[in-house]
Amino acid sequence: MSSITVPVAVPSSDLLRDVSSSSVFELRGVNVHYGTHLAVSDVSVDIAEHQITAFIGPSGCGKSTLLRCFNRTNDLIVGATVSGLVRYHGINLYGPDVDAIELRRRIGMVFQKPNPFPKSIFDNVAFGPRVTGMAKRDLNDWVEVCLRRAALWDEVKDKLKQSGLSLSGGQQQRLCIARAIAVRPDVILMDEPCSALDPIATARIEELMIELREEFTIVIVTHNMQQAARISNRTAFFGVDVSEVGVRRGVLIEEGATYDLFTKPRQTRTEEYITGRFG
């Protein structure tokens, strides 16, 4: 046995074992600055295709910031700059001829707090296809397909005209997932998608994520280590380095197959975090 005496969570299912596959994203030496402050320092990591990669770590370690590099939503934050190399299917995402809007149509995002538009359930799912110019006659069928895939169809098929805000929190989050997959992305980014939900709604979303892995590559930021252990194939553990003058910056401490990371972590900090002795 390793030195861990009481692991908080150990992934159980064989399904979740890391299957080596090609990388969708390759990050090499990525730094993110907010103004002059270095928020994320020197991260190099690969995101494997059709896998769920979980980013875990204490608050302020830059995992959400890093997630926003994948669809360049950091561009929208005044003063945020990204340096280093972010490659998506081999293309430099921050290269001069990359159109961020085209990119975001390939990479869906689900946020911490369910944020359906104040529009009908149908219009929420149809939003992406409409802005990307899908023909009207195909919309009805496509909305149904997406709602089915997000495991929401049976609950909402009779009230597609009702406001998306009339749904429960868990349903709203599944609506946001349906909305995200409606633009046919190949990656879905999830920024703590369950932290505003109760355990039952969380379980449904987790089940859904495992199903969606067949079609999509998923990167999830989570505060919940048990969640990372339950659903992810690979886990990246981030920490905070505090300099002598008290400046904090996020660093990648360890990345690997989830099973390995939780059962035989290579770094002491990882071990301390997952056994609950720190963070």
Binding site: N71, T73, I101, G108, N115, F117, S120, R130, V131
Partner: protein, 300 residues
């Protein structure tokens, strides 16, 4: 038992209200005072409405809006002023909504508020909202009527009122746009929408109730204005309704002002009847605002 006796002799805690405390007294008076504030507003409105109805009652008929002004009070009506008001307000609305919302979109969604000139614009829009209407009348006269040579026309009147209410529309629209949660913008951008699509499909629809309220308040103010329009030459006695943007015109407040200043009692009765008509138009505008608000919320 002695223990119980000991408990009974413990210090007595008094949880009854200490009525003497000034803050508690104020608390008890709060509903009365605030109700009185509401009552004052309602009473003034009720008095006003009742008074004009009673005074205008003898002349309250369709004649007020079907007959043109005349020298004899019993033959006179406010037809030209009624249609003049509708023309002027129609053009004012058509001009101030797109310009006001456009300016608000720039200031909230596009401008970098760290730049000093954008902050300067912001402060000055607020200043403009406080400029007296007569000053806009002077601007309209020198710049629109004479400078641009628009003459004393419906369009010159509408443009003057547009300049007057624009700051109000901009401020109200900005507040409404600011209140749209940024999570909705992020969701839209995250789905690959362009900035224009995000503004047009997400931000403005969500801001519509607030914008509608601001626009109607602004138009309600514009509809009751006489001063700037008198200055730019809204005539007091015209015997035809406007036929287009370049017609001469008058509006109800000017007509009312004119009739009230006549010595004959009959004209004052007629003025009261015209005020009822003006109030009626205001009521229709406000109902429209409420309808838009509810409609937009229902879709929300």
């Amino acid at each position: 038992m002695t223990d119980i006796n000991a408990a009974n002799s413990a210090p007595i805690i008094d949880l009854r209200t200490s009525k003497q405390h000034p803050a508690r007294l104020a608390d008890r008076l709060l509903p009365t005072i605030t109700r009185a504030c509401v009552a004052i507003g309602l009473l003034v409105l009720a008095t006003l409405v009742v008074q004009v109805f009673v005074e205008g009652w003898p002349r309250l008929s369709l004649d007020v809006i079907t007959k043109f002004p005349a020298r004899k009070a019993e033959m006179a009506g406010a037809r030209s002023a009624f249609f003049g008001t509708i023309w002027v307000i129609g053009f004012t609305a058509a001009l101030c909504i797109p310009i006001g919302v456009g300016a608000a979109v720039y200031m909230e969604e596009l401008a970098d508020n760290n730049r000093w000139w954008n902050r300067l614009i912001e402060v000055n829009v607020q200043n403009l909202a406080a400029v007296p209407s007569i000053v806009y009348g002077i601007l309209g006269l020198s710049f629109l009527v004479r400078g641009l040579g628009l003459g004393q026309t419906v369009i010159a009147g509408a443009l003057t009122l547009t300049l007057m209410v624009l700051p109000t529309v901009i401020i109200a629209s900005r507040e409404a746009i600011k209140a749209v949660p940024s999570s909705l913008r992020q969701a839209s951008i995250g789905l690959g929408a362009t900035q224009l699509q995000t503004i047009g499909r997400v931000v403005l629809p969500a801001a519509t109730p607030g914008i509608a309220t601001g626009v109607i308040l602004a138009l309600s103010r514009a509809i009751g204005e006489a001063a700037p329009l008198i200055l730019i030459g809204g005539l007091t006695y015209i015997k035809f309704s406007p036929t287009g943007p370049s017609s001469a015109f008058t509006v109800l407040p000017i007509q009312i002002f004119n009739w009230i200043s006549r010595p004959q009692e009959e004209f004052r009765t007629l003025a009261a009847a015209a005020i009822v008509v003006l109030l009626g138009i205001l009521l229709v505008l406000n109902s429209l605002a409420i309808w838009i608000r509810n409609h937009a919320r229902r879709n929300a």
